[in-house]
Symmetry: C2
Subunit: 538 residues, 2 copies
C-alpha cells in the first residue's frame, strides 16, 4: 500500500473525510473544559473553521466520534473530546494555538492518534479539542549519507518505509507495535521503544520544530542557526538542551522532528530463546544483562510470556474455557503446540557474516547455560510468532499485536501497564510475582513481556479485558489502579502511562518534581491550553 493510500485510509478511519459543518446544539451534552463557556467553545470552533476550513473542524459529538475510540478502561467517561481540528500547515497550528489562548479552549495534540492501549487520541481531561496533525504528513528530508530524516507528525512508519524502499535508500526504520498506522513523531514524543539497535526512539531523535503555547515557532538543537546543515546531524545544540521538555508533556506542539535511521547491515540474524518455566524469569534476565550491557546483543529485545504470545493470534477460550483462570499448565500446553516456550526472548545479530559468526557462539553458550533453547530461522521457519519478531527486529511492519484486543471477546479492552526496573533477575522475579497476584485477584491474565533495555527493564503488561462489558471495564479500571499503586509502593513506577492514569503515576514521582513541572507549565503555557492533564500536568 502506498503512503498516500495508507494515509487516506487513516483519514477515512478517523472520519475526517466527508464530514460537514454541523451545528453546536449537540455540545450541550458534552462536558466542556473548566472555565470554558458554551460561547467560548462556539467561538473557538468558529475561529478554527476560519483557519483550516469547515471540513477540518468537528465540533459536535457525532462528528467527534472517531476521536472518542479508545481501549483503556474509562468507566466514568472522562476521556471524551468535545471537538477535533485537523490543520495542514505549521501556520495553521500557530493560529489554532492563538485561538485556544483567546477562548481558553484546551487542545490535545496527537500525531496520528494511534496510541493504542494508552488512550489513542483521547485526552486526559474532559472538554478538550483534539488537535489532529494527521494531515501534516510530509517527509521533508532523508539524507542517505548521514542516515537521517526530517518528518512531520502525520507521517506514519509505513509511509517512511515505503519512501525508503521506493527510493532504494538502504536505511532501516525502527517501528513500535502497530507501526503501519503509528507515527514516528507521536511514538518518539511518548518515548516509545522498538526492536532494532535504534529502538530507544528518543535517543535517536535529532532536532525538533515546536509551536510554543504563545504561537511562536522554535527550532531546537542546531535548527535555529541560519543556514545550518546540521539540524539532523547533532542533537544537543548549545545552552540548555530542551527537546526532552516536549516529550510526554504539554509544553508545545511538535510540528517537525528529525530522526536517525540505521544503515541496513549486510547480515541480519534473528534469534528466539525458549525457556520452559514461568519461574525462569530471573535466569533469563541475568543471562541477557551482560549481553545487553556489553552491546553483544545490541537491539532492544523482548522477552515475551507465552500468554502474551498466544493472545496475539489466539482467543482466550481456545486455551481455557470461559470463566476459568488461565492456568500455567493450559498455557504451557498451548505454547508447546505452537512451538513456544513459557518465555520467548527475541533478539538479533546485525553485522557482517564474520562478526555475526564471531558473536553467535558467545550468546549461544551464555543462553544455553541459562537453560534456554536457542532457536533461529532454521528451526522456526513458518512459525508466526518467530516471523512476527523477525519482521519487527529488522524494521518491518505488521499489525499482529492488534490481535490482543480480541483475547477476551470483540469488546476490545487493552491498557498497558509498564513499570521500570533495573535489569536484574531478582527485580523481574518480584515484579512478575506481584503483577500475577494483582491481576489474578481481579480476574485478569498475566499477558506480559519484558523489554530488556541497555540497563533497564520495561515490564510491559497488557491488561486485557472486554470493554463491551461495563462490569469488566470497572474491574479493569480497579485492577489497573491497584497495579500502579502497589508497584509504586515497591519502588517501581511506569515509564509511560495511559490518559486514565497520568495523574496517578505523576504522584509517584514526587511533589518536588510535580511542582517543577507545574512551574514550567505556568511559565510556558500560562493559560493552560495545551493538553491539560498530560503526564499529570495541568
Amino acid at each position: 500500500m502506498s503512503d498516500f493510500e495508507l494515509n487516506r485510509r487513516g483519514l477515512i478511519g478517523a472520519g475526517l473525510i466527508g464530514a460537514t459543518m454541523v451545528g453546536l446544539a449537540a455540545c450541550d451534552k458534552a462536558t466542556l473544559a473548566p472555565g470554558v463557556s458554551k460561547a467560548d467553545f462556539a467561538g473557538a470552533i468558529k475561529a478554527m473553521r476560519g483557519v483550516v476550513g469547515d471540513e477540518w473542524v468537528f465540533g459536535d459529538p457525532e462528528a467527534v466520534t472517531p476521536w472518542k475510540k479508545n481501549y483503556i478502561p474509562d468507566p466514568e467517561g472522562r476521556h471524551v473530546p468535545v471537538g477535533a481540528v485537523a490543520p495542514k500547515t505549521v501556520e495553521e497550528v500557530q493560529e489554532i494555538v492563538r485561538i485556544a489562548n483567546k477562548y481558553r479552549q484546551p487542545i490535545w495534540p496527537v500525531s496520528t492518534g494511534k496510541n493504542m492501549g494508552y488512550g489513542m487520541a483521547t485526552p486526559a481531561t474532559p472538554g478538550q479539542i483534539v488537535l489532529d496533525l494527521k494531515r501534516m504528513n510530509r517527509i521533508l528530508d532523508v539524507d542517505p549519507e548521514l542516515g537521517t530524516a526530517l518528518v512531520e507528525p502525520g507521517v506514519t512508519y509505513q509511509q517512511l518505509k515505503d519512501y525508503l524502499e521506493e527510493n532504494n535508500i538502504p536505511l532501516w526504520i525502527d517501528v513500535p507495535t502497530v507501526g503501519p498506522i503509528a507515527s514516528p513523531v507521536g511514538n518518539t514524543l511518548e518515548r516509545g521503544v522498538g526492536y532494532t539497535p535504534y529502538g530507544e526512539h528518543f535517543t535517536f531523535q535529532c532536532g525538533m520544530e515546536v509551536v510554543l503555547p504563545d504561537g511562536q515557532v522554535m527550532r531546537t538543537g542546531m535548527g535555529s542557526i541560519k543556514g545550518t546543515t546540521a539540524w539532523q546531524a547533532f542533537k544537543w545544540g548549545y545552552g540548555p538542551y530542551v527537546d526532552g521538555l516536549f516529550t510526554q508533556s504539554n509544553f508545545g506542539i511538535v510540528t517537525k522532528m528529525g530522526m536517525w535511521l540505521m544503515p541496513k547491515p549486510p547480515v541480519y540474524k534473528p534469534f528466539m530463546i525458549r525457556h520452559d518455566d514461568m519461574a525462569d524469569v530471573p535466569k533469563i534476565i541475568e543471562a541477557m544483562r551482560p549481553l545487553r550491557v556489553s552491546s553483544l546483543v545490541a537491539n532492544c529485545n523482548l522477552m515475551m510470556s507465552a500468554s502474551y504470545q498466544l493472545a496475539m493470534f489466539k482467543r482466550r477460550n481456545e486455551i481455557v474455557p470461559d470463566g476459568r483462570p488461565l492456568d500455567d499448565a493450559s498455557v504451557k500446553k498451548a505454547a508447546k503446540a505452537n512451538g513456544l516456550g513459557m518465555w520467548n526472548t527475541y533478539f538479533a545479530l546485525y553485522g557482517t557474516e564474520q562478526t555475526v559468526a564471531a558473536i553467535e557462539p558467545i550468546i549461544r553458550a551464555q543462553l544455553t547455560a541459562s537453560g534456554g533453547e536457542v532457536m533461529t530461522a532454521a528451526e522456526m521457519e513458518g512459525n508466526p510468532w518467530f516471523h512476527h519478531h523477525a519482521t519487527l527486529m529488522q524494521g518491518g511492519l505488521n499489525l499482529d499485536e492488534i490481535g490482543l484486543l480480541r483475547w477476551r471477546g470483540a469488546g476490545g479492552g487493552l491498557a498497558w501497564f509498564a513499570p521500570v526496573a533495573a535489569a536484574k533477575g531478582k527485580e523481574a522475579e518480584a515484579q512478575t510475582k506481584l503483577a500475577r497476584g494483582i491481576l489474578d485477584k481481579h480476574g485478569f491474565d498475566y499477558t506480559a513481556a519484558y523489554a530488556i533495555g541497555w540497563r533497564d527493564l520495561h515490564h510491559i503488561i497488557a491488561l486485557l479485558y472486554d470493554k463491551s462489558d461495563r462490569e469488566q471495564e470497572k474491574k479493569a479500571d480497579a485492577c489497573y489502579r491497584e497495579l500502579v499503586s502497589t508497584f509504586g509502593e515497591n519502588g517501581w513506577a511506569s515509564y509511560r502511562t495511559g490518559v486514565n492514569s497520568m495523574a496517578l503515576v505523576a504522584e509517584q514521582y514526587g511533589q518536588v518534581n510535580r511542582d517543577f513541572n507545574k512551574l514550567l507549565k505556568n511559565a510556558i503555557d500560562p493559560n493552560g491550553v495545551i493538553a491539560p492533564g498530560k503526564s499529570g500536568i495541568v
Copy 2:
C-alpha cells in the same frame, strides 16, 4: 597517586587549604554584580561563613586568586569572581542558594573548575561568587553488574578510575582532555566528549540530583521514586525529560549525577590513519562517515592536524623561528620527523579477537582507498602521540594536552572554538579553509582537530596565544570573535563555548530560543542568582 592525594593536590592548587578569614576591605577594588551593594556582598559572605565555616569562604581578591586563573582572552577583565565558597554537603549548597537569593548575590557553580580553554572556574559576568563543589567528592555507588556509577561533582576522572582499579571492577571510564583533574559531572554538564564508544558523555548520563534556585532538591529520572533501584538504570523517567535543562545552563546546581560505564572489552586495538596533505580533509571525512554511521568504528574519534599534535609536545619555535608564520612545509617536515602525517585520525576497535579481526579488513580497505596509511601499535610503538591517543581511547588518563599552553611561550593562552557541522567532506573542507584564513589574518596558527561523531563533526580549534603579552591577548580576543561571527554567518555555530563568548554564540541560536531560555530562567530562578551569563542566559 590516590584519589585522596590527588584531590588534596587539587584543593591546594585552588588555594583552599590554608586560607583564613580575611577582611572585606579589598573588595572595594572588585566589581560587584549589578544591583549588589557592598553591604549585600558582605552579608552574603558572612552568612556563607556561618554555613560552611570560615575556612571555606573566600571573600577578598587575594584569597580568590586561585579561581581567577584562566587561559581565555579577557582583555577587559570581565571574568573575575569576587569570592568563592566550597560546601561539603547538599544541605550546605541549599543554604548557600538561599543566602544568594536573600542578598541577590550571584553564584557560579563549578565542579572541579578545570574547564580548560573555556574559562576554568571563572564566571561569565563580573561580581559572582564561585560555588566550588570540589569538596563534594564522594563516589556514592558503582554497580559492577549494571555498569553504572553515581558520583558527586568533585569526583575526578582519576578518582573514579582509581576506585574501579582498586576494587577490580572491569569497567572503563571515558575521559575528556585533562581527565585526571577534570570531573565527570562538570564535563558532562558542559556536554563534553571523550574518546571511547561512551564518548558522548551526556548520552551516557543517567539521573541527576539538582539543587533548584529556590533551595529545593530535585532528583530526575527514576530518582524521585521512593525505594527505586533504577535511578542509574533508566534515563528518562516519566513526563517531561528535564535533565537537559541542567546542562550548559544556569537553572540549578547538580549535586549528584548518574553515569553509565563501558564494560572492558576482551580486545582493544587502537589505530592511527596518516594522511599526508592538509587538503585531504574531505577525503578523510568521507571515508570515516560510513564507518561511524554504521558503528563499525564505534568510538568518538579524533582527526588531529599535525600542528595540533606538535603543539602538545613541542614549542612553536622548534618548528619555525619566532615571528614567522607556521607554514605547511615546516609543519610537514616536523610531523614526518615525528612519525606523524598532516592529519592523523585515531580510532579503535573494541570486541573479541574474532570481531576485531572481522572488522579490521573493512576499515583498512576503506581508509587505504582514501589515501591513508593505516598504522597500529606494531608500527607506532614508542610514539608519544600514538601512545597518547591509545591511552585515551581505552579510558586512560594523561595531561599531555596541557602542553598546548606552552606552544607560544610560558604565558599560557588557549581558547577553544568548536563549531559543529554535519559529517560531510565538503563542510569540513570549507570550515578548515575559513578557519585558516581568519587565524592567519590575526597571526595565529591553525592548531585544530575534528571530533568525528556519529553523524556530526566538532571542529575543535585551539586558539593558542601568549596571555602574558597584552597585545597578543587583545588580538586573540578579536580573532576569536571573528571566528565565531564569520562561522555563524556560514551556518556553523559552536556546540560549547568559553565564558568570554557565551552571549555572542547564544545570539546565533536566534531570538525565539533566547526568549524561551529567558522565560525558563525567570520562572526557575526569578532572582537570577545562579550563574548569570551562562550560555548567554541572564
